[in-house]
């Protein structure tokens, strides 16, 4: 099965008062079973749009997506999504959040006891069995995201879609979560599509990195095969020349070939930091970093 997930020439137009706005233009990508693919690009380049089309939450205007030989045209648990801000139901405990998904997917195929075991097994996988009966507001950001991942894994999806899963976490927690994800991936060998804007994360986790051009009419710029041996260790990789070469290639794509042009006022230096958020703080920072790189 070479093409497990087949994205063929998807384009999407969003209606605006000035006519349709083409966000994505003829994006094609074929993903093998068990492959870990990262989508990287600047903010607003349409990464999340691609993921939402894969999830079935958005419909492509042209082109289509096929998963395991079947067309994708509505959301479903075979394409589980890990949302950026965990999206756990705040009134349910970690266990109940996973239970909601498990009940929905395995209603007809599992007994009550089997479901309970399966929920516990998945929470154990993400090291959350100790806080199973806590509600999201009693958990830290990283823990919430772990439960979100457990919920997605518990659906036993064909593809795991992750929308900047660690974007809202601090650097140390993020590293910890990436290690956990690699560990899980070694055991389960899921097909994963992950969106990120963290270069290190992309190189460390992926089999392939798909770099997207800036919008409007965004599409794939370059694809980079990361054939680093697994298991990967972030500390030893830091001195690995291949690893640094891959990093450099992604950085050069993002900050030289696809440099995001954001105007930052030249006048008083104080103004710059105040004005930047209004225009997209991330983009502004990216630009400044890019100029330095």
């Amino acid at each position: 099965m070479s093409h497990y997930l087949d994205i063929s020439k998807i384009s999407i137009d969003f209606p605006t008062p000035e006519g349709p706005f083409r966000a994505l233009d003829e994006l094609s990508l074929r993903i093998k079973k068990g492959e870990f693919v990262s989508l990287i690009g600047h903010s607003g380049c349409g990464k999340s749009t691609v993921l939402n089309i894969l999830a079935g939450l958005l419909q492509a205007t042209e082109g289509g997506v096929a998963l395991d030989g079947k067309e994708v045209n509505e959301p479903g648990p075979d394409r589980a999504v890990v949302f950026q801000n965990h999206s756990l139901l705040p009134w349910l405990t970690a266990f109940e959040n996973v239970q909601l998904a498990v009940r929905q997917v395995f209603r007809d195929s599992m007994s009550k006891a089997e479901m309970r075991d399966w929920i516990q097994q998945n929470l154990k996988l993400v090291h959350m069995e100790h806080a199973m009966h806590k509600r999201p507001d009693e958990l830290s950001g990283g823990m919430k995201q772990r439960v979100g991942i457990a919920r997605a894994l518990a659906m036993r999806p064909k593809v795991l879609l992750m929308d900047e899963p660690f974007g809202a976490l601090d650097a140390l927690t993020r590293a910890h979560m990436q290690d956990s994800l690699m560990e899980i991936q070694r055991d389960l060998n899921n097909t994963v599509v992950m969106i990120t804007h963290d270069v290190d994360e992309a190189v460390l986790l992926s089999d392939r990195i798909v770099m997207m051009t800036n919008g409007p009419a965004a599409t794939i710029g370059e694809v980079l095969n990361i054939d680093l041996p697994r298991p990967r260790n972030r500390v030893t990789l830091a001195e690995n020349s291949d690893y640094n070469h891959f990093r450099q290639q992604v950085l050069s794509f993002l900050y030289e070939k696809q440099r995001k042009v954001v105007e930052i006022p030249r006048e008083p230096a104080v103004d710059e930091d105040e004005a930047a958020p209004a225009r997209g703080k991330v983009a502004g920072l990216v630009d400044r970093l890019g100029r330095r790189a």
């Binding site: 589980a80 999206s87 139901l89 705040p90 998904a101 929905q104 997917v105």
Partner: protein, 333 residues
């Protein structure tokens, strides 16, 4: 039902009883108890002074002391009426027993007591009417709110009508409701009196809207990510509403329910007054028509009772909310 630890005014007392830092607790007591008491005292003083200045055709406006006395008198009248009622039934039982002793084939009959409704009776009638009207309104308003909150189209369809009916005064509805109830509710042996139905329907018509609007806003404001979770899981409509929509809309819904209950209570008094249906409103009207030297004091007793019951109803809703709310840490006030 109301957990003791949540009652902030009780906490210093509890801590004082436990002997935790007495001086601090006394200061907290001064803040939570002394200041409100001073406010009440100032109000009573102002009332007493102002009352002495106003002379009506029924004598001077009643001061706090007159009202206190009449409150006691009303309670005493209630007790007397109950004694009277008890005595009435007792006399009938005795008479029946005597007649049965003479003639064993005699079928005893008990005649119902038809004394006048006391102040306490009127309070109970009002509470029953407001509860019936409010429950009926909520049963209509919550499902309607959920439906129009979930669908933009339904919202646009219903919104103009809701906005039009929302500001209508109960006094405008009352004649229509009275006529319709008279025409529709015809029965030889009615289960509940007509006047009860009229007041209940009027209350319902006026207190529907805040719950409808707040529920709709709460439902429409469900976090989009949670809606996406529901779509990915392919939750059925009912499961979606039960597990996602209702818990997220709960705080807004209760804000609406509390406003509705407040309106229901205000509307009820006006409706009873105008429709001459039994209850506190009728009590006020009767006292006004009666025009004795005690009337104004008795009306003031009713005014204070109405306020106190309104306040208690609001607290009751708050207690229900903290009971069913998933977010126990939320600051409800």
């Amino acid at each position: 039902m109301i957990s003791i630890s949540q009652q902030t005014w009780l906490q210093p007392w509890i801590k004082l009883a436990r002997g935790e830092r007495p001086s601090e607790q006394l200061r907290a007591l001064a803040k939570t108890l002394l200041v409100p008491l001073a406010g009440i005292a100032a109000f009573l003083l102002l009332w007493a002074v102002a009352a002495g200045q106003i002379n009506t055709s029924l004598g001077a406006f009643p001061g706090p002391l007159d009202v206190w006395q009449q409150g006691g008198a009303l309670l005493e009248e209630h007790a007397a009426e109950r004694r009277e009622e008890e005595a009435f039934y007792e006399r009938q039982r005795e008479r029946n027993a005597q007649r049965q002793a003479v003639d064993p084939s005699y079928q005893p009959r008990i005649f119902p007591y038809t004394g006048s409704a006391t102040f306490i009776d009127q309070i109970l009638t009002s509470l029953m009417t407001v509860t019936a009207g409010f429950v009926l309104a909520s049963l209509l308003a919550i499902p309607l709110g959920i439906l129009i909150g979930l669908s933009h189209t339904l919202y646009r369809a219903f919104n103009p009508v809701i906005q039009l009916l929302k500001p209508v005064s109960p006094l405008a509805w009352l004649p229509l409701v009275t006529m319709v109830v008279s025409a529709v509710y015809v029965s030889q042996d009615p289960l509940v009196p007509k006047s009860f139905i009229t007041s209940m329907v009027t209350v319902m018509l006026c207190c529907l809207w805040p719950t409808v609007i707040n529920t709709a806003v709460g439902v429409a404001g469900v976090d989009n990510d949670l809606n996406n979770v529901s779509r990915v899981l392919r939750l059925g409509w009912l499961t979606h509403v039960r597990t996602i929509v209702l818990p997220s809309a709960m705080p807004m819904m209760f804000a609406g329910l509390r406003t509705s209950l407040g309106i229901a209570w205000m509307v009820l008094i006006a409706a009873e007054m105008l429709a001459q249906s039994p209850g506190l409103g009728k009590f006020v009207w009767d006292q006004f028509q009666n025009g004795s030297s005690d009337s104004l004091s008795r009306i003031m007793v009713a005014v204070i009772t109405i306020g106190a019951i309104g306040f208690l109803l609001d607290r009751l809703m708050l207690a229900v909310q903290s009971l069913v709310s998933w977010d126990k840490s939320a600051d409800l006030r």
